[in-house]
Symmetry: C2
Subunit: 172 residues, 2 copies
């Protein structure tokens, strides 16, 4: 794409001093882990969004996927449970559920035993769209990851899991 990079010289220059600020002029974005990760996430999100629209389920946004799949497995989960399952903060989950409620996919139902808690329940519409949504998901990911070997996919998964663990440890 272009000629700049704002990342991770350390992996490409051996013997560099830890805090040495490297000369940037010789790097390209396609060498930058952070750039590549964020762009890949964005293009997949964008492809999913287009896929849902083309399939006539434009009410479904990519961000809803985690919640939908969780609820298709077990309806009536609580907000915190959904947040934990999707890897989001509870406060993020609230806004997500607001949008999903607005779009007619779920509703909130009070817990008679714990008046703090709300159970998140799929509407009929939320149940009906399961098949087309999963089809779009499968098709989109097949398209985006086409011509990539299974062994490489496995390395990606392994490395990204390690990244998540490194970050988790770093934040403690």
């Amino acid at each position: 794409m272009v000629n700049i990079s704002w990342i991770s010289i350390s992996y490409r220059v051996t013997g560099i001093k830890y805090y040495m600020v490297p000369d940037l002029d010789q790097f390209s974005v396609t060498d930058c882990h952070y750039y590549l990760l964020s762009r890949a996430t964005l293009v997949i999100t964008s492809a999913l969004k287009k896929g849902f629209t083309d399939a006539g389920v434009e009410k479904v946004k990519p961000g809803y996927l985690g919640v939908l799949v969780s609820l298709w497995q077990k309806d009536g989960l609580k907000t915190v449970e959904l947040a934990r399952m999707a890897g989001l903060e509870p406060s993020s989950m609230t806004g997500l559920l607001d949008r999903m409620e607005r779009d007619g996919l779920i509703y909130r139902s009070s817990d008679p035993h714990d008046r703090r808690a709300q159970h998140i329940v799929l509407t009929d519409f939320g149940k009906e769209i399961k098949k087309p949504v999963l089809e779009v998901l499968d098709k989109t990911l097949k398209s985006v990851f086409q011509d990539i070997e299974e062994s490489e996919i496995n390395i990606i998964k392994k490395v990204l899991n390690k990244v998540l663990n490194n970050a988790k440890r770093g934040s403690n």
Copy 2:
């Protein structure tokens, strides 16, 4: 983390029919490419943000990095040029530059030869923070990608570049 996954069964089940909707109950998030990519991006972003704050350059947000590094290489680029270099839409770049201007990192300067264009220029402050910002970047990425082999990093880069190309072709 948890027991759900909303992704990409296709790579793990051989011989699956293209549009077959798979049974979800047996998958885990840590097997999901889309999940892993988006989480990894978010944890790195979060680590960078914390790094900037700890280093006393809390005016710098992770999203500013692409623009800053571009301008440190060549000051006075135009909005569209910066957008293209960072891989963003020009409309996204406008908002980003608004925040950077508000935070005292850049200012806009009209082009006398093309009255449509604005040149984006670093303030003194925007120039001064180069060293600490690059230090935080280097340190953070070293930390997040620690214990990951160079060969694996290279595979990640290769695969993600292919993903970006696949998505680009798919959108035409």
